[in-house]
């Protein structure tokens, strides 16, 4: 039931994000004639198809993890579903960039230019991902240090606080039982994003000419935006769960001091913010052209 609620809210926010990002950069429009469209069409079509395929497979993989996880995972499947989705999306973008780009024929041309990853990265979104990643790292470190074992001696599953003669435990708590797999999956995702970004810069130009180059750069920016947005989902989704469960455990603990309660409410707000960010990143990952030229 909570999952259905989250999915419904995510759908609403996804639709809102799409409506908010109306400006669509049609590749080739306004920068050239039919030659530009002809040159760019196969690239845009291929990258769109593989991106949507990655998105679909990612959703299926996330759903499979959520439904098929054994009961002894104790909620770990919810933390790993988002990285699985993001990895599939990254794979879709990567396949779109590396397939069908080998030049054929005896006459070949290449521009003398240096294409760097930095020139295609969306600044605001990259900054947001870095900030959320840093917040996730700090929060997971803090919760790992504060966690204690549960009644089955599983390390870091509960928050145990003492006050006078009382010992109060609340959970589930994002201690090492959850934080280590989350951290590992995020690091694997980021490691997969790096070569995908390099593939975006290495893809050859479809044709020569300034108009084609401008349209091709737009397509590369869209791919880079999809990759960074996938990284955003990779980081923001676990931060949502970590923030919410940290907040619920802290505010619900009978021995919580004022500082702990305040930290708990902060974590709840952080989780909610990360949830909204997750929806925004998901929208940008699927429809990167809609956010072009921001």
């Amino acid at each position: 039931m909570p999952l259905l609620l989250i999915a419904g809210l995510a759908t609403v926010l996804l639709a809102a994000a799409l409506l908010a990002t109306r400006r669509r950069a049609t590749v080739g429009a306004g920068v050239g004639g039919t030659d530009v469209s002809a040159a760019m069409r196969p690239i845009v079509r291929r990258s769109t198809i593989t991106r949507f395929a990655g998105f679909g497979i990612g959703l299926a993989a996330a759903a499979a993890i959520l439904t098929a996880a054994p009961p002894n995972w104790l909620g770990l499947e919810a933390a790993l579903a988002a990285p699985a989705f993001a990895l599939c999306l990254l794979a879709g973008v990567l396949i779109g960039e590396i397939t069908g780009t080998v030049p054929t024929g005896p006459d070949r041309a290449a521009p003398i230019e240096v294409r760097s990853v930095r020139s295609y990265l969306p600044r605001f979104m990259t900054g947001a991902v870095i900030v959320l990643g840093a917040v996730l790292a700090v929060l997971l470190t803090a919760t790992s240090l504060m966690g204690s074992a549960d009644d089955m001696s599983r390390a870091g599953r509960f928050l145990t606080l003492n006050c006078q003669d009382l010992t109060a435990s609340t959970g589930p708590w994002p201690g090492v039982y959850y934080s280590l797999p989350i951290a590992a999956s995020v690091l694997i995702g980021i490691a997969a994003a790096a070569p995908t970004l390099h593939a975006v810069t290495r893809r050859r130009r479809p044709a020569s000419g300034d108009a084609v180059r401008a349209a091709d750069d737009d397509a590369r920016r869209a791919s880079a935006r999809a990759i960074v947005a996938a990284c955003g989902v990779l980081v923001a989704a676990p931060l949502t769960g970590t923030g919410l469960y940290t907040g619920m455990a802290m505010t619900g603990n009978a021995c919580a001091t004022a500082a702990v309660t305040a930290f708990g409410w902060t974590a709840l707000a952080l989780g909610l913010t990360a949830f909204i960010a997750s929806c925004w990143f998901a929208a940008m990952a699927v429809f990167p052209y809609r956010a072009a030229q921001r």
């Binding site: 521009p111 240096v114 130009r205």
Partner: protein, 122 residues
């Protein structure tokens, strides 16, 4: 303005030599100046559908000629020593002028002064 490198894989001239010759010409003509960065070897190789070693050999030959220098992390750049040479056509015109002026018995000092007068704003 972005320049292009063209390779004809059916040509008897090896691809690395075609790349080297074109880049060398662009440097000699001053179209690529000191500090300009050449594309990374892997990028140019992917763009042209050639092996990385082929482009790498062209870059090594240019480096051996002192026209470019490669630095780890800094890419391959045109060196300051690779000063642009005047185009062949300009050199031919200059030689024709000097030859014609000397036939008239003009001293070197006077033919230089004539060029300077011609260059002076009207």
């Amino acid at each position: 303005m972005t320049f292009e490198v063209r390779v004809d894989t059916a040509s008897p001239v090896p691809p690395y030599e075609q790349i080297r010759a074109q880049l060398s010409e662009l440097i000699d003509q001053g179209r690529l100046v000191a500090g300009d960065r050449l594309p990374p070897v892997r990028q140019l190789a992917a763009d042209l559908g050639l092996a990385v070693g082929t482009v790498g050999r062209a870059y090594r030959e240019l480096e051996a000629a002192g026209k470019v220098s490669s630095r780890r992390g800094g890419g391959t750049r045109v060196t300051a020593e690779a000063a642009p040479r005047p185009p062949a056509e300009l050199a031919r015109l200059a030689a024709d002028y000097v030859e014609a002026a000397r036939r008239l018995g003009t001293a070197d000092r006077d033919l230089i002064a004539a060029v300077q007068r011609a260059l002076a704003p009207q």
